[in-house]
Amino acid sequence: MTIDEIQQEIVEEFSGFEDWMDKYAYLIEIGNELAPIDPKYKIESNLIRGCQSRVWLHQEFTDGKIKFEAESDALIVKGLVALLLRIYSDRTPMEILASEPKFIDEIGLRQHLSPTRSNGLLAMVKQMKLYALAYEKISAKK
């Protein structure tokens, strides 16, 4: 599936929830189910420090695709991290650079990506794009 298709899929998953409570419960659930990042990657240099919650982001570039692993200490953030990984991990740099995580807006959780909400999520998206940009350049050189 393309990034956009997965985003669409997520939006549909969330459209079932009438109550915000169910929506957050679901987020928490998928946050809870996200496989923990390998402890050896839970290091300072992978840490994106929001004021309220922390996100660790690790990546590897193989076969032209970036594989991301990530985790957060807050479950709601971790749920959102899981969704972001679902769309952005295992993608080519070009794919990552070409798309925005607009699903967050559409499922009514835009506030969590606001630049004034320092939970680390927006910084995580930025960081993923930066990696994509870097690998893009490297690939182009080859």
């Binding site: 915000w20 409570m21 957050y24 419960a25 928490i28 809870n32 004021c51 200490d73 479950l75 709601i76």
Partner: protein
């Protein structure tokens, strides 16, 4: 006696709104309180009728403004029971007040090897200015620790103070632990050793009537926006004997007597420390806030806030896995806690969905986080416009959210 809260709430129309579809419950008063319409109206009236820059003027608007500004200073002086208006300096908040003292007292009295004492429970605003000054001066910052229950270990004070100790800075009320520190006792101990004391009153001025002469503190700092006044205005009280010896902090208009490029002489107190156009509208708003609070019997409001604290504490303690940080004998208006297995960010986010505003995070008190070895806390803080019903609603919300996470944690085990 319980004041008529429903009447009081009418003065705070901001409270009467829905947030995320639920009636707002505002439990973030320690961060900033709301302003009654009386304060806003006074500022409006002033801006729309009187506004003129103050001092040194011959025209009516400016003179009326000067009079209103100086009358506000007198209102603050009376409220604090300062000996004279020269000791009441308008700043832009607690943070600026403390920075002023750290800088100017530091310039006058602190040299290499001297010592400054703060406590482990201070807000960053009462740590960092001292750190910065100590670094500049080659002085040493020493720390009075607190016990796990949230009380300062006063018994260590005597050994902490040395010949080299030049000043001690302590919060009257902790913004995390809620502890009301025994500052009269601390001041007495410090004064025995000739050490002056700065009291960070950011969290006490909103709750108690302050008497700086009775406390005998050397400096007392507070913010308008935490005590029903506007943002951007605050106060530094200082004893004349210190202020007179301290060099100015900021340079500019009004703090000047005479400027030449060769030599500049400074104005008298309090103007020496008020460089630039002061926030006179803010000062007038702060005076209106003080007058608003004084319209009530201060003790009755304080007692009521205490009842809220007691009730909330009792309720929260019923929640399994909830840990309260700070259980000092004397507490005021603030409860910090965590619930096992729930991240404060998650709790804050979900409470907000229920219309309940609490603060979460590190609360500008990293050393307190480190003391308890946690990354974040949840804080609820009260004002006299809060109600027992709101506490009940908070309790029920926490139970509900805890259940939501309870199932989750099961899954992950």
């Amino acid at each position: 006696m319980i004041p008529d809260i429903s009447q009081i709430r009418k003065d705070f129309p901001i409270l009467d709104q829905l947030v995320n579809g639920k009636p707002l419950i505002y439990f973030d008063n320690a961060a900033t309180s709301h302003r009654p319409v009386q304060v806003i109206e006074r500022m409006n009236e002033f801006s729309l009728r009187t506004n003129g820059n103050i001092h040194r003027a011959t025209h009516t608007l400016a003179n009326k403004t000067t009079e209103a500004f100086e009358a506000s200073r007198e209102t603050v002086r009376k409220y604090l029971n300062a000996a004279e208006v020269g000791e009441v300096i308008f700043t832009h908040g607690t943070t600026e007040s403390i920075n002023l003292v750290a800088f100017s007292f530091g310039e006058a009295f602190i040299g290499a090897g001297d010592e400054v004492i703060v406590t482990e429970m201070e807000h960053h605003a009462n740590i960092v200015p001292w750190q910065m000054m100590c670094e500049r001066k080659g002085a040493i910052l020493k720390v009075l620790p607190f016990s796990n229950n949230g009380e300062l270990q006063i018994e260590l004070l005597d050994s902490l103070i040395t010949e080299k100790t030049k000043i001690l800075a302590v919060a009257h009320v902790s913004n995390t632990l809620g502890t009301v520190n025994p500052i009269a006792e601390i001041i007495a101990k410090a004064h025995l050793r000739k050490v002056p004391v700065l009291v960070d009153g950011a969290q006490s001025a909103p709750h108690f009537k302050i008497d700086v002469q009775a406390l005998d503190c050397d400096f007392y700092a507070f913010s308008g926006h935490k005590m029903y006044g506007p943002t951007g205005i605050g106060v530094l009280y200082g004893k004349r004997k210190w202020l007179d010896q301290m060099p100015p902090f900021l340079g500019g208009g009004e703090m000047i007597d005479r400027v030449t490029f060769a030599k500049t002489t400074y104005n008298q107190l309090p103007y020496k420390f008020e460089a630039g156009t002061p926030d006179y509208v803010g000062a007038i708003g702060l005076a209106a806030a003080i007058q608003y609070v004084q319209g009530y019997d201060h003790q009755i409001l304080a007692d009521y806030e205490h009842q809220l604290l007691i009730a909330a504490t009792a309720k929260l303690k019923q929640i399994e896995g909830l840990k309260i940080y700070g259980e000092a004998q004397q507490k005021a208006g603030v409860i910090c806690f965590n619930i096992d297995g729930i991240h404060p960010f998650d709790l804050g986010t979900l409470l907000d969905q229920l219309g309940i505003a609490v603060r979460t995070g590190r609360l500008c008190a990293d050393p307190v986080m480190d003391h308890y070895n946690v990354e974040n806390m949840v804080r609820v803080s009260f004002s006299f416009y809060n109600t027992m019903d709101e506490i009940e609603t908070l309790y029920k919300a926490l139970i509900r959210l805890k259940a939501m996470f309870g199932t989750m944690n099961m899954n992950s085990k």
